[in-house]
Amino acid sequence: MSPRTVFIEASYLAASILFILGLRSLTHPDRARRGMQLAALGMLVAIVGTLVNHEIVRYDWILGGLVVGAVIGYPLGVYVPMTAMPQRIAISHMFGAVAATLVGIAEFWSLGNGVRVGRATMAALGFEVLFGALTITGSFMAFGKLQELLPSRPVTFRGQNYLSIGMFGIAVALFVTLVADPAHPAAFYAMIALALVFGISLVLPIGGADMPVVISLLNSYAGLASAATGFAIANNVLIIAGALDGASGFILSIIMSRAMNRSFSNVLFGAFGSAPAASAKTAHGLAVHAITPEDAAIQLAYARNVIVVPGYGMAVAQAQHQVRELAALIEKNGGSVVYAIHPVAGRMPGHMNVLLAEADVPYDKLKEMDEINGEFKNADVALVIGANDVVNPAARSDKGSPIYGMPILNVDEAKQVIVMKRSMNPGFAGIENELFYRDNTAMLFGDAKASLSKLVHEIKQA
């Protein structure tokens, strides 16, 4: 090994260690920031190490790419609001996949359009561009849905699943052909095109509430594409970082799918978009109890134990700061307030935690589902803000319900439930929520932010 190679390899080893330490630090919120700064340092080390690579003969394009990337990336890091985090994460999966895919294409092209590609390298390149290409379009579709450029409800048509599976099958067949004999440029580019279309057809039928699974899955695919790049260009730090990312996305998809009571194979094959069967109970003849902000304020002002259950509605209304303000008033009156976070509340893993942390809610008040579910029976008021399916008791009792079996927050056990909701429209899954018709449930209709502001105002008056 020449000194130069030693330097490069040492920088990659250092980067790998720092990445793992960085991820490890995320097991505790107090150490996490410092650890991720170490990981960023690792990235810098790896970049510096790469720049002395003997293959690099000119730096103008490199510098150009670094500058343009930094100019685009900096505002994406600094100015994107926390409420836009799901789409921000989705689009970043796309950028990662673009890089991996283009490296794969250039590698294939520069080796005589496949003529000088070995079989094993071809297998790596194949995985790289397959995962990469479907992640590019899949993430872009997810971004479009979350940014509401596209309809966020499932878009389906007849034979959709067969079409998707057919396309995927052809892509895999092309892949096998290529590994047998890599010198087939047409097959290689056709495979990429198919994977691009497949990415669209994978995400199109998926609705907003299923986004946490999709984003996690795309996270995993983007990581696997990076790892495959590492195999193709024989680079260990890429393999390690890609494996870490792949494992992380994989674990998150499992956690998310469990939290929605979907089987894991259901997630892997992406068949989780199917429209819910119309088997749910309808609520004919039942009446809801509407409550005025004044009455709700009185109940909250005298409550000792309040559990707040945030959902996507809170994110849409950007009401997290008002929630915090209300909680501060209740605490001033001597009550206690904690927050019950369902794993799939919102549009991505951990969505609610980030929003509430932004509003200065201390993280020890954010309780996971298993931790808080036993506490609802002691709660004077459970305040549900824009959550629906994750508090629907039908998941426990109604076998015909599409969400039957999904673990939910036991909000209905609280002495009084106040549900903030814009209207009586059913939630994403399109099913009625019998919680809203119970005797101990009161509905506070209106925009969550406006309602919360009124509550704060009323309690201050009192």
Binding site: A99, A234, D245
Partner: protein
């Protein structure tokens, strides 16, 4: 360019295990920062893109390399900044209550 060696497969599998055991211990509180962190880390594919953009393999490869460098840099810069921004927000109630607002 050498082929894929068995050693690389070892690296991949072992790194996957390290990732699995580390990440299962990340609390759901930090799942969003985890996602942006792993995304920023996997932008290490920048390393491959840099070589591509700087090597002399013909204009198409260089241009693809340039676009790849740009995309990966977006994730490196934006990803680490936004992860830090999120992690900065997580505070505990604790005794330091008076200072946090």
């Amino acid at each position: 360019m050498q082929g894929v060696s068995l050693l690389e497969l070892y690296v991949f599998v072992l790194a996957g295990f390290v990732g699995f055991f580390t990440i299962t211990r990340v609390p759901s509180l930090l799942h969003t920062p985890l996602m942006s962190a792993t995304n920023a880390i996997s932008a290490i594919s920048l390393v491959g893109s840099l070589v591509l953009a700087g090597a002399d393999r013909g204009l198409p490869a260089t241009v693809l390399g340039f676009v790849a460098v740009t995309s990966a840099t977006i994730n490196v810069v934006g990803g680490f900044i936004i992860t830090d921004r999120m992690l900065k927000m997580f505070k505990r109630a604790g005794p330091a209550k008076g200072q946090q607002r």
